[in-house]
């Protein structure tokens, strides 16, 4: 598969995955752009891999983990202005449609440590097995399971009180 063909076929899927990780379309687009630039530079190696898409997904996940230290973040911040002009209306519009209540969950997800969130996305959005998640994250299965269980515990602690509060009045 050539790089062009890969972009043609998988760019949208990668954008979806990036949105689930980052939580917002702007960061997602920057994640994908940065990942694909890196992917193009080492394309021969990726094309030779068993599953090129998983390889690229792993790269994207690493770019996401590096969000706070990578130098590319500065470029993202600088570019933020023109992106907002083209993309903000749609995102805000969807948000404002009375979803605020239910999307408290989205907010809680956003507060999780990045590694825990990535593990959740891979399990509950991408539907991967723990072994596959471990492969994408480049960590042992045990570590991945403990991230997931910690993330679930955190979320349960937040959902619990919220549900009771919602039921009381």
């Amino acid at each position: 598969m050539t790089f062009e063909e890969f972009v043609e076929a998988r760019l949208q899927a990668l954008l979806r995955y990036a949105v689930m990780l980052a939580g917002d379309p702007h960061t997602a687009q920057d994640l994908v752009q940065e990942t694909m630039i890196r992917a193009q530079l080492k394309w021969r190696q990726i094309a030779a891999a068993d599953m090129p898409e998983r390889y690229v997904k792993r790269m994207l996940t690493n770019v996401y983990f590096d969000l706070h230290r990578g130098s590319w973040l500065r470029r993202v911040v600088l570019r933020g202005v023109d992106l907002e002009a083209t993309m903000e209306p749609r995102a805000v519009g969807d948000h404002a449609d009375g979803l605020a209540e239910r999307d408290q969950m989205w907010v809680w997800l956003g507060r999780l440590p990045r590694q825990q969130r990535a593990a959740l996305v891979l399990r509950y959005y991408e539907g991967l097995t723990d072994g596959e998640i471990a492969e994408v994250l480049g960590r042992p299965v045990g570590t991945v399971r403990s991230w997931i269980s910690r993330a679930l515990a955190t979320l349960r602690a937040q959902v619990g009180p919220a549900l009771t509060k919602g039921a009381a009045p």
Binding site: V7, L11, Q12, L15, R16, V19, M20, D24, P25, A28, Q29, V32, Q33, E34, M36, I37, Q40, L41, K42, Q45, T86, M87, R90, A91, D94, L99, R102, D103, M105, W106, L109, L120, V121, Y124, Y125, L152, L155, R156, V159
Partner: protein, 331 residues
């Protein structure tokens, strides 16, 4: 909880933007720019290694008759050409592209050296071979035509030159007894792997790629150069500086230095004229006056007028003044 999470993710699919056409273009432009940056990183690496080795050679290398070399009597500028190639192992020279051409201008009076970096796509008029991209010049004609083309372009006589490849760097590093390097981020090697018996070799099926874990470790020569190659390839200059510092530290050990010098002499493909610059010791001698803090990298001006005054400055030995007036060419 499981279902709640699945629903939450599914609900937010509407946040996913349709890939804008600009994204594809941005990826391609970005990749092109980054490739160019990797070349600069490589260039800096080769320049640093050879300057470091040559400088280190100075204090202890005695002449065959046992006397120590005297400081250069003349203060005329010295010009050297460095060719850096990303060649591993024993590939024949005819198969490789020169990743970088660097014209080094040494100003003994000011104790300064300037490394003038020729861009990879710069057209060079090779004698007898016609115009070529700078990064293909070594591939097409070897060292000599490239040196002549550079010499004619800048209007200066070259006092010597050297070709540096990965094998040369490995043998220098090997002579230093390996190096202690600190890794900041986990990296997996593309060029080295362990087989079942734990021996280092080329990557292949059933072999575990070498992984550089964060922290400070001792690297053998192959690992050190490999790590450096990966870091320089991703534009990470810190690793390059760390490598040079470790090499300098190893060379400050009197027990290791002789081996290091021998390795440098054998590993580098030297093209030195007769006279004072006829050997590595002579080259080191010539570089003796240079203060390591005063080595500056310069981008070769490619616009109009040709050289933007740099060539005249090279000929008259006034590169320092020229650079002060043209700071935009500083790398």
């Amino acid at each position: 909880m499981d279902q709640l999470l699945r629903d939450t993710f599914a609900r937010h699919e509407n946040l996913v933007p349709i890939a804008p056409p600009g994204l594809h273009a941005a990826i391609l432009t970005g990749a092109r720019r980054r490739r160019a940056r990797r070349r600069w990183a490589w260039t800096g690496l080769f320049t640093g290694v050879i300057v470091a080795v040559a400088l280190l050679a100075v204090p202890v290398a005695p002449r065959p008759d046992g006397t120590r070399p005297q400081a250069a009597a003349s203060s005329a500028p010295i010009h050297l050409l460095l060719v850096g190639i990303d060649r591993a192992g024993d590939e024949p020279p005819a198969q490789v592209r020169a990743d970088s051409l660097v014209l080094v201008h040494i100003d003994p009076g000011a104790r300064a050296a300037y490394a003038i970096v020729v861009p990879p796509d710069f057209p060079l008029d090779l004698p007898g071979l016609g115009p070529q991209r700078a990064d293909g010049a070594y591939l097409v004609g070897g060292y000599k035509p490239a040196a002549e083309a550079i010499s004619r372009l800048a209007g200066v006589r070259l006092d010597g030159g050297a070709v540096v490849d990965l094998a040369a760097m490995e043998s220098i590093t090997d002579a230093a007894g390996g190096l202690d390097l600190c890794v900041e981020r986990r990296v997996q090697s593309r060029h080295l792997a362990y087989d079942d018996n734990g021996n280092l070799g080329e990557p292949g099926p059933g072999r575990a790629p070498v992984v550089y874990e964060p922290g400070c470790h001792h690297f053998d020569s192959r690992e050190a150069v490999d790590y450096l190659r990966i870091s320089a390839g991703s534009g990470d200059q810190r690793a390059v500086r760390a490598y040079l510092a470790a090499l300098a530290a190893a060379a400050s050990d009197p027990a290791r230095l002789p081996a290091l010098l021998t390795a440098a002499g054998q590993g580098l493909e030297l093209h030195l004229g007769a006279g004072a610059l006829g050997s590595l010791t002579g080259l080191a001698h010539a570089l003796r006056a240079v203060d390591p803090q005063r080595v500056t990298a310069i981008r070769l001006p490619t616009g109009v007028p040709p050289g933007d005054g740099l060539y005249a400055a090279l000929q008259t030995g006034r590169v320092g003044e020229w650079l002060a007036a043209h700071p935009q060419y500083k790398v």
